[in-house]
């Protein structure tokens, strides 16, 4: 937080204008470099506290893809058909992956290696996210500078460099699409604003390219292609149409759509799905408006009125026709042309109603209130001030920022994951708010300090003309007053009129009005600094404690203060890679698919790219079925090993038993003989003695709790905080082959089919199973 203060104070201390500008430029540059260093280094906690390792689930897939890219080149990557996942369907990686991140890291790796710096692919992948968060901070600087000048820009950049929400997705090792996508998002917005402010076709082209990079990087590009049309529409409606707006928008739609269609994963979706229709509609509207303005220019006012009626009627007819066609096209598709995730955005209850697979992902759940405080901290209080600051004066660019924050707040309220989109907007607005507040407060202080009273007037005037402050000084003064109202720290709003302004303009009186009492200003500055300090402390804490865990390695603090490390996942994966055949298939819930392929190099049935609901439902059905039916499902899919994650021994809450209801729901969605109520006792999910027999006999229960009673004699589950319901049982169709040190991962092998088929006499128990085997098979196995 040292940086924003020096930004504000730095330039004002210089005497002559040019020298001051030069000095300010140098300082701003140094500050930007420092912000970059800060953004990079605050994300290294994970490497320091743990190790240089890829985190979580999706990053492992990206890492594997990057490895493939660096080994086989871009064409093979483009055409990569991966036969080690989604067995036996396989997955066309090149056509289903957003290649931006992979290509970026691959390029970095190639450049670095061609410079004879022998970095491994993994190292490059681990540090891609921190590097790009530095870039994102700089992009935020540029964007905010376009909106409210460099002071606000630097503040916003500093805030973004350490906003916890963004840190959570971009710590070293979190090698995920969002890492580069946030940079691309902010940079695209910057170029849009830049084009809007300059009206330069050059920037418009750059903007399309930046948009292309964003499309390459993340599915969230639809946010851009909807937000910018919204803004254009807003500008048109508020009568702010200009040729700059046209230049900013029209090339983006044309070039951007063409470029987006080049990305294999988007392809024809760029013109076929509803997510993109808004941009085309606005594209039509802007042309109609442009035509209207052109005609207005060449016609006399009288003629124009006639023309207006004509154009409006024709335009309305055309619009109606287009809308009718659109509705017809959209209505003909079953999901109304919207993908499931996008529908979730518009109707938050959609996913939980219809698509359990989307609802089952925790990051697709709506956030809780504390998570706002956790993720953006004091920014949540500064944002309203920033919005007000943006309203005075309301320029094209500031209205865009307002629109950005409003939409992203809505989206973040729908999905936790989109908090990430909110974070840059919050930082930009908070940066504006803080910068404006400091601007006002420091000026008030300067006016009243006896030592520099003579200078102060000059300074204030110059601050108006210098680039530090946005074009209209007059309106800004009003706005800062509004800002002051918002601040809880500024209780004293008594107006000082002692200082006399030299300028005989209307702004003089108003400027006098905004000068705050010295004490109040000093206290306000101190409080603001304190607020910033809180923010820094929180961010550093969040970076160090909350968001740096790689989740592949877990730690816990023991009672005597020692650190206990749970490295069970890697233990299990390396067991698999050393003890099983290369072509063996491993079944697990889809969460562990990416890790299994990347770390154990074994074929999996389903993974985190949840593109085939039926296949996932099959695995869910197998997990919720009794042993024999599960064995048959797995056997028909050539599965050799089954992997379950079990936290009951050490109290690891996100284990398979806790995810089990989702397996039941997803499985039951495709195979109706799996019914959720069968697993619930009076609507309650329990695994103790009160649990239903279906629950106690399903494969997931058995594989999780097999031999569990041997650990403590009672079978006390430390996650569910209860004793398990069925303690002593044997497995008939599976055999335990490996259990990790803390029992977190358990691997079972499918027994081969029985060599002989037993007769029925004497062993009545076995005879029942033999006789029932046949008729059950036809019904329960979804593949037959």
């Amino acid at each position: 937080m040292a940086s924003p203060e020096s930004t504000i104070n730095g330039p004002t201390k210089a005497d002559s204008k040019s020298l001051r500008n030069a000095f300010g430029g140098v300082i701003a540059f140094i500050i930007l470099v420092l912000i970059g260093v800060l953004a990079f280094s605050i994300r290294l906690f994970s490497v320091i506290k743990y190790e240089s390792v890829i985190h979580e689930f999706d990053p492992y897939f990206n890492y594997r893809v990057t490895q493939f890219l660096s080994k086989n080149g871009i064409y093979d990557f483009w055409n990569w058909f991966d036969d080690r996942t989604w067995y036996p369907l396989g997955r066309v990686i090149g056509g289903t992956v957003y290649p931006g991140l992979t290509l970026t890291a691959g390029t970095i790796w190639k450049v670095v290696n061609s410079l004879n710096i022998p970095l491994s692919v993994e190292t490059v992948c681990v540090f891609t996210a921190p590097i790009f968060s530095a870039f994102a901070s700089w992009a935020a600087y540029l964007l905010t500078k376009e909106v409210k000048g460099p002071g606000a820009g630097l503040t916003a950049a500093a805030l973004l460099a350490m906003v916890p929400s963004y840190i959570s997705r971009s710590v070293a090792g979190s090698y995920d699409n969002e890492a580069v996508a946030i940079f691309a998002l902010v940079f695209t917005f910057y170029l849009y604003i830049k084009t809007l402010n300059t009206g330069s076709l050059f920037y418009a082209t750059l903007n399309a390219l930046a948009y292309f990079y964003m499309v390459c990087s993340w599915g969230g590009y639809t946010f851009i292609i909807n937000l910018i049309p919204m803004h254009v529409l807003l500008c048109i409606v508020t009568g702010r149409y200009s040729s700059r707006l046209y230049i900013a928008y029209a090339p983006l739609v044309v070039l951007g759509t063409l470029l987006a269609a080049l990305v294999p994963v988007v392809g024809f979706n760029a013109v076929l799905t509803s997510e993109h229709f808004a941009s085309f509609l606005v594209f039509i509207i802007i042309h109609v408006v442009a035509l209207a303005y052109y005609i207005k220019g060449i016609l006399s006012p009288k003629m124009f009125k006639v023309a207006v009626t004509l154009v409006v009627s024709v335009g309305l007819a055309v619009c109606c026709a287009v809308i009718a066609i659109l509705i017809a096209v959209v209505a003909s598709s079953p999901t109304k042309g919207w993908s499931g995730r996008s529908l979730t955005l518009l109707d938050p209850t959609y996913a939980s109603k219809y698509i359990p697979i989307i609802a089952s992902v925790s990051e697709h759940q709506p956030p809780t209130w504390p998570s706002y405080f956790m993720d953006i901290n004091v920014l949540a209080f500064l944002v309203p001030a920033g919005i007000i600051a943006c309203f005075m004066p309301l320029s094209d660019s500031s209205s865009f920022v307002i629109l950005y924050i409003v939409t992203s707040v809505y989206f973040s309220g729908v999905m936790v994951r989109l908090m990430l989109v909110l974070a840059p907007a919050a930082c930009i607005l908070s940066g504006i708010a803080l910068s404006e507040a400091f601007n006002v407060l420091t000026r008030s202080i300067k006016f009243q300090l006896p030592g520099i009273a003579g200078n102060s007037t000059v300074a204030s005037e110059e601050s108006g003309s210098s680039s530090v402050v946005a074009p209209s000084d007059v309106s800004k003064t009003e706005k800062t007053e509004e800002v002051a109202k918002e601040k809880p720290v500024k209780k004293n709003r008594k107006k000082e009129k002692e200082n006399v302004e030299k300028k005989p303009t209307p702004s003089k009186t108003e400027r006098r009005l905004l000068v705050l009492p010295l004490e109040a200003s000093v206290i306000a500055v101190l409080l603001l600094v304190l607020l910033g300090a809180f923010y820094v402390v929180h961010c550093v804490w969040a970076a160090a404690e909350a968001y740096s865990a790689p989740s592949i390695v877990l730690t816990s603090q023991s009672n005597d203060g020692g650190l206990h490390v749970f490295d069970d996942f890697r233990e299990a994966y390396s067991w698999l890679s050393h003890n099983t055949d290369v072509d063996d298939k491993v079944a697990s819930w889809w969460d562990y698919g990416y890790q299994t392929t990347a770390m154990a190099n074994r074929t999996v049935l389903v993974d985190n790219n949840t593109w085939n609901n039926t296949h996932i439902a099959t695995v869910g059905t197998a997990m919720s079925s009794p042993e024999k039916q599960a064995w048959e499902i797995f056997h028909s899919l050539d599965v050799k090993y089954v992997l379950v994650v079990f936290g009951g021994l050490v109290g690891y809450p996100s284990d398979d038993i806790n995810k089990f209801l989702w397996m039941v729901r997803i499985g039951g969605g495709e195979f109706p003989h799996i019914k959720e109520p069968d697993y619930l006792r009076d609507g309650q999910y329990r695994i103790d003695a009160q649990a239903t027999p279906t629950m106690l006999n399903c494969l997931m229960y058995k594989l999780s709790y097999f031999r569990f009673v041997e650990t403590d004699g009672k079978g006390f589950d430390r996650v569910r905080r209860t004793e398990i319901g069925k303690k002593h049982f044997k497995l008939t169709h599976f055999e335990e082959v490996f259990t990790t040190h803390h029992w977190m991962v358990r691997i079972y092998k499918l027994k081969p089919p029985r060599n002989r088929i037993r007769g029925k006499t004497k062993k009545s128990k076995s005879s029942r199973s033999v006789s029932s085997k046949r008729d059950v098979k036809g019904k329960r196995n979804p593949w037959h």
Partner: protein, 436 residues
């Protein structure tokens, strides 16, 4: 590199086990342990034993309760086959028990079990484990008032002249067994769902299982052709098991005696027992009906060498070698019903293979227009033959980006339209900008 080394050491260390456990090169058994109730059986069933010896088997006769009985030593099996001619034994001697016998079978060895009216629980439980259920009534015998042998002296029609034989040249040999087979013993049944077990000799429709000396108080549980007199089981690992309800079936006395079935005028000088027993034992000890398949290979038409991956709509050729064991050498197996599946969750292609009569089977087909991880699957299950189950995984990929057609003829109007638009726009710009 390290992986390769591990693999090699693993293979090398496994090699001795692999070569000893079941040698695919000579599947015929050599060393056979015969367990007897008492040594008098050795002479009373000598024809059967001599026929085995003359075919090159090493017979090792032991009493079933011999305390030094052992099937394996130092983890290796001492025998390739086991004949249990000890129906009344309650406990085996030495280290042998039911589990040991079943392990012996599960490791690919063959077994003959002969029961009797005096069959013990031990023998019955061995049979049950193999999928054969003997009648639970310990005093019951198979009675057939229609199909009894005329020479039946007791008059209770328990000596049966059975002629309901399985129709399989593989199991019973090419020469038809003309004479009925004499049988006196207990009945067993097979579970209909048991695909591994076969009735070789089944009861006639008029047979039933009951105590011949007692009056029937309730309908017999086993009747008609549900009764199996002699069954064979081929386990999933191709170990073969023969279970007979009668030990006398193998005896010299039955083999030599003449037979006439009641109600049928034709009388045979010699019963069918000898031929039946010899032929079934030939099948049982893998002298017949043993197939080996291997060398599954495939290639793209016009190319040599096996590709690691196919593209959709590729034309490919598929080869597999199948040989049959003739008793002393591998002969080409000739059949017209071997099929290959191109399988991904369900068969996308099912083709019958053609053979060159030298053991090589071949077909060619087009890869379906579906990508995924396919398998070439040869699943060959034919009555009496060892079941073949081979598969080889092969991924099928979609077109590469540059394998599509570059220009589509039907789209030429669109190409033309876009180029004329571009040209028109260019001309318009020039005219508009420079023509004032």
């Amino acid at each position: 590199m390290a992986k390769l080394a591990i693999f090699f050491t693993l293979t090398l260390s496994l090699l001795p086990f692999l070569s000893h456990s079941f040698s695919p090169d000579t599947p015929t058994d050599r060393r056979i342990l015969v367990l007897l109730d008492d040594f008098s059986l050795k002479s009373s069933h000598s024809i059967f034993f001599t026929s085995l010896k003359s075919r090159g088997f090493d017979l090792d006769f032991k009493l079933a309760d011999d305390p030094k009985l052992a099937l394996q030593r130092y983890g290796q099996y001492l025998y390739d086959g086991l004949i249990l001619f000890a129906p009344s034994v309650e406990r085996f001697g030495g280290a042998l028990d039911v589990a040991a016998v079943l392990d012996f079978v599960d490791s690919g060895h063959d077994l003959i079990v002969a029961a009797d009216t005096s069959a013990s629980d031990l023998i019955k439980s061995v049979a049950t484990e193999c999928g054969v259920d003997f009648d639970e009534d310990p005093s019951a015998m198979v009675i057939d008032h229609q199909g009894y042998a005329v020479s039946d002296v007791d008059g209770d029609h328990t000596l049966i002249a059975a002629d309901e034989l399985i129709r399989s040249d593989v199991i019973l040999g090419k020469t038809k067994i003309e004479a009925p087979v004499l049988f006196k013993g207990i009945a067993h049944s097979l579970n209909a769902a048991n695909t591994l077990a076969l009735k070789v000799l089944s009861g006639s429709p008029s047979a039933y299982s009951a105590n011949p000396s007692a009056k029937l108080s309730s309908p017999p549980s086993l009747t008609g052709s549900a009764i199996s007199l002699v069954s064979v089981v081929q386990a999933r690992n191709n170990a073969r098991i023969m279970i007979s309800g009668s030990l006398d079936l193998f005896s010299n006395r039955y083999m030599k005696s003449s037979v006439q079935k009641a109600g049928i005028p034709s009388k045979y000088e010699k019963s069918g027992n000898e031929q039946f027993v010899t032929e079934v034992s030939k099948w049982l000890f893998h002298e017949r009906g043993h197939l080996k398949a291997g060398n599954l290979r495939h290639l793209k038409v016009g190319e040599t060498g096996e590709p690691a991956m196919y593209r959709i709509k590729d034309d490919l050729e598929f080869y597999v070698d199948i040989f049959e064991w003739s008793g002393n050498s591998w002969e080409p197996y000739v059949a017209d019903d071997v099929q290959v599946q191109f399988y991904m969750m369900s068969p996308y292609v099912l083709k019958t293979l053609s053979t060159d009569k030298k053991g090589l089977y071949h077909t060619s087909f087009k890869v379906p227009d579906v990508y995924g991880v396919f398998q070439f699957k040869v699943e060959y299950q034919k009555l009496g033959y060892t079941s073949l189950s081979l598969s080889k995984q092969i991924p099928v990929r979609p077109f590469r980006h540059n394998e599509y057609e570059r220009f589509i003829p039907t789209a030429f109007p669109y190409y033309g339209a876009s180029f004329t638009t571009m040209a028109g726009f260019f001309i318009f710009s020039v005219v508009y900008l420079y023509n004032k």
